[in-house]
């Protein structure tokens, strides 16, 4: 007997067995179980979120509630942006606020800057502003503790020591640098 014949014979036997088998009732709940298996699956959370977002909805709100909430949200956002933009200070170093003042009652100078060891002697980093009330060029800066050398650079070329500095030091180049003593307690001199 060839293989093909053997297959046809077997199939015939199976069909005959099915036709001649006795009839039996369907078990209880069979249809429900089959239908439950055919129910669509619960969508994933992401898909549900997407459906929630794209499905049109009607929202109602009271302006009296929404306006303060939006204002608060904007304020918090602005605060976060400002905080991110502010460079962080080294927590290991306590900086002290110091105030540089150069008296110039009649505002003879056109521009004054402080140059010193704390700004790498770069005038553009510490340009002073003129305070008309005080009749003086003023700049506030935060400096680490220690003794700092500095000078005023007037009109971009003239080097002027601070007349009120407690101490001056020969700079080795033929000029005198003013000395500022800064401790870690937000005090300038002691």
């Amino acid at each position: 007997m060839t293989e093909e014949r053997k297959r046809i014979y077997t199939e015939g036997e199976i069909m005959l067995a099915i036709r001649t088998a006795p009839d039996k009732d369907v078990p209880d709940g069979f249809a429900e179980r089959v239908m439950a298996g055919l129910e669509p699956r619960r969508p994933s959370p992401w898909r549900r979120l997407r459906l929630w977002l794209v499905r049109p909805r009607v929202m109602t709100f009271r302006p009296l509630t929404v306006i303060p909430a939006v204002t608060l949200a904007v304020a918090l956002l602005a605060l976060a942006v400002i905080k991110t933009d502010t460079p962080g200070e080294d927590p290991g170093v306590r900086l002290a606020t110091v105030r540089f003042v150069l008296r110039d009652a009649d505002m003879h100078a056109r521009q004054v800057a402080v140059i010193g060891s704390f700004n790498n002697w770069r005038a553009e980093r510490s340009v002073m502003w003129y305070n008309r009330k005080e009749g003086a060029w003023v700049l506030e800066a935060k400096l680490p503790p220690g003794d700092h050398e500095y000078l005023f650079l007037v009109n971009g070329r003239e080097l002027v020591p601070d007349p009120g500095a407690p101490m001056t030091r020969d700079d080795g180049f033929g000029n005198k640098n003013s000395i500022m003593f800064v401790n870690g307690d937000n005090e300038q001199a002691l």
């Binding site: 110091v98 790498n120 009120g164 407690p166 101490m167 030091r169 080795g172 180049f173 005090e187």
Partner: protein, 255 residues
């Protein structure tokens, strides 16, 4: 005799060659190579940029640019902190000081650092960089070397932090021509009580204000000594001398 002279001549010539080689290499090194070596040593790009700007804008000749960087390269070779040298170079360039003058100041500073290193090395296995900078900058700025020699000889066995504070005091007072004998008396009292607190480095401020008010250095030192004997603070000294704390510390202006 003749042979001995010939040998001495060869030895002398050899020594001269040894001395001449480093000098020639320092003087003849091209600017680009000096900049590259300085960069390798860790000289800040900002400092290199200042020199490069001077060279590019014509304010500095290329060989001047190289010569300005050589003391920094030497400081690096000696393992000295570079920041004080970078700062002085930036200061000189900002003040438009001629390059040879800046180089001289930087070389003097190198000499000060070598002096302090040689002073401290026999007594400390690892020299604290902050101590090295404090004392070397003090020497560069006019503290008598002899003051530091005497201070190190007498107090180098003290704890590191009070010893550093004492070094600050010796340097700042020395620059103001305060007699070292007075400083020494104060420090002796301070170390007997465990050493001066860090705030004592600013004793110089009391001295400067006291001098303006006509007080003698010896009287201020005596007041400080009495306070140090009890482990007191600078405020105690100013009270003893009749200063208000505001006259010393409450001032917030630079003048």
């Amino acid at each position: 005799m003749n042979r001995r002279c010939r040998i001495s001549g060869w030895v002398l010539a050899g020594l001269l060659c040894l001395l001449a080689v480093p000098a020639a290499s320092a003087a003849d090194i091209p600017y680009a190579e000096a900049a590259a070596r300085a960069r390798e040593c860790g000289v800040l790009s900002e400092t290199l940029g200042l020199v490069a700007s001077g060279v590019e804008e014509g304010g500095l000749a290329r060989d001047e640019g190289a010569a300005l960087l050589m003391p920094l390269i030497e400081a690096c070779a000696n393992r000295f902190p570079l920041a004080p040298f970078e700062d002085k170079l930036a200061e000189g360039l900002a003040k438009h000081v001629p390059a040879p003058r800046i180089i001289k100041v930087l070389e003097d500073r190198l000499a000060a650092y070598r002096f302090v290193r040689d002073l401290l090395a026999p007594r400390f296995r690892d020299v604290d960089p902050e101590l090295l900078v404090t004392m070397a900058e003090g020497v560069s700025q006019g503290t008598p070397r002899d003051d530091l020699k005497r201070y190190v000889a007498e107090f180098s066995s003290e704890s590191p932090e009070p010893f550093l504070t004492g070094a600050h005091m010796v340097c700042l007072l020395g620059q103001s021509s305060f007699d070292y004998a007075l400083t020494r008396d104060m420090l002796e009292a301070a170390f007997a009580e465990g050493g001066p607190l860090p705030q004592w480095r600013y004793f110089i401020r009391i001295v400067l204000v006291g001098r303006q008010r006509g007080l003698a250095d010896a009287d201020m030192a005596a007041a400080a000594r009495r306070v140090l004997e009890t482990g007191g603070t600078l405020n105690d000294v100013s009270s003893r001398l009749g200063f208000t704390s505001r006259s010393l510390s409450g001032r917030v202006d630079s003048n």
